[in-house]
Symmetry: D3
Subunit: 130 residues, 6 copies
């Protein structure tokens, strides 16, 4: 298996460094997390995904904290350990409290339960929801 170790800034090509620089400038931090350093093995993916994240996760009709909570909800439902860790940290950095984290998990859990009750019982969609 070829190495997919994270590519550090010192070892990165100019095009990869340009993305790292933009990540740090946008996030006002001095480090880049492993997700970016690993997908940097394929620069077109690095550039494309960073472009998507910048557009989708910026402040808009939904605020950045709410977007992080939604990200965690998807990541827990899909069981992505890395994503739960990184986006929970992202949510905390944007102000999520312990109580909010627990309520977030409570909603995620209950939604996963009632999803299966609706599916298993074959509940017909109400006219009012169409």
């Amino acid at each position: 298996m070829p190495s997919l170790d994270p590519i550090e800034y010192a070892d990165a090509s100019p095009e990869v460094r340009a993305v790292y620089d933009d990540i740090m400038a946008t996030r006002k931090t001095d480090w880049v997390n492993n997700f970016w350093k690993v997908i940097a093995h394929h620069p077109p993916t690095l550039q494309r995904i960073w472009g998507n994240i910048k557009q989708v996760m910026s402040n808009g009709a939904l605020d950045p904290l709410t977007k992080e909570l939604i990200y965690v909800a998807v990541s827990v439902t899909n069981n992505c350990g890395y994503c739960i860790a990184s986006h929970s940290a992202g949510a905390r950095a944007k102000g999520m409290t312990d109580e909010q984290f627990s309520e977030l998990l409570a909603v995620i859990g209950l939604a996963n339960e009632t999803n299966r009750l609706a599916i298993g019982y074959g509940v017909p969609i109400d006219d009012a929801f169409k």
Copy 2:
């Protein structure tokens, strides 16, 4: 297959009606959606799930609209048609705009994508996230 048609109020037992009444009183509406009318075929499930929903979805550290957005995020990821319809309607009733709905779907979609990139590349969790 025995009928799992929604049980209407007029045909419901007193214990089922008591839950329907509490749903309508809590939500300040005069109708009950099909999810409850179908799981009413098993009153212990009806009572248990309604008790859970009341506790989990009420106002707390997270506001009710944010909780509905999280519910939609789980439901879309799991592809539950009924749940997407009912909780999108719930979110709209609590103030979700068209723009917010589209941003919600954009975050859900992108999270599902980056979840698989993190999983496929086997990104190691940063020490800062542990």
Copy 3:
């Protein structure tokens, strides 16, 4: 899109008819459900899957009804409408009562919930479970 309509017995090739005959003889019925009639478009798949089902779903250390309940649990979790319908019918034919069906769905729902709580909170595995 080429037709993937169910292939009826009258229109089936001898190798497909041989599988249909074995399905009916094994199940002591005089009809074949659509799942088999559709995968019959690819006879190697029809023969292979029927061979698997015969081996896995027959009476063994677990009885046939319990196996159908497990089948429904997977199908509801994956949201496979056809599979929920066919294996719920299979379970009923093997004796599943309405009360058992509702308890089955209750367990499926709750398991889907606690799965996400364990994942979201990152619960470490107890030594006693290793």
Copy 4:
């Protein structure tokens, strides 16, 4: 990240201890597994989920071993490592043999396969199943 280490009995609040006591009394054991000790960080979730488990997993129209098998089926399909470990142990404690465990996994695997064949081929639901 704030600690989400399991909360031991000695360090638990009275309301959390009350749930731990009820878990041990109900299960006739002298220990509590990590799932409860972690969700204890949010007592309303601890109390709610324990109440659900007590109601859903008790003896009813389905026996406790069958319910554990269903729990494992959902947990394997969702890939929840903690849940597979804890509910497999629960099933063994209720009498599951090695042979039954292997048949359980065989059914889970095959159901996951045929779910996708039914979905991929778009098999129409038979009238007999409606």
Copy 5:
């Protein structure tokens, strides 16, 4: 619920028409499928997703047909009816035969089965695969 009907070319804004035009020019066709006409309700999503598809699905180290097969594999595993229909059609337009479609579904099905066996049995990763 506000209408999310597909937005036809005649009713589209100039920025949406520009994307439709590029889709038709790139694909050398004279129509646009509903996926684009629905996400056109949020032009930033329309532009972003089309940009992603153009980059990712174009000819590269993997040929366009292979990419469509992979797309179908994901869509069947996730049970996305629209995506199965559209990407199966895309694969056929790029030369997929009936036999290839059936082999594709056979691999998808079997992978879903062995995934759960590996997860359920907790198979440790071989040193040779690390």
Copy 6:
């Protein structure tokens, strides 16, 4: 928990050795990976799954490398760590380059995203796809 350690050739029964021998002969290698050594705890499963793999993964209308790519696509979507490792290795052994691996992951990721957009927006299937 009874041991589910891999069963080495030296410790295997004749019926298990016969499958190991066939795996090595078919693959022209001198070792067997852990997946087979673990499911060998249940010889009927070992024989059945190996028979399925031999039939489904052999050269046919789709070539063996394409089949491995499809296997990886399913395994990443389901988050099966063992399966990603073993089938990525299988794909590399059949010629997959680094660039192809990255394009594979890019398609998998994007398909997971657009699946949820199609589901969340409820895109109606075009007549041309029916």
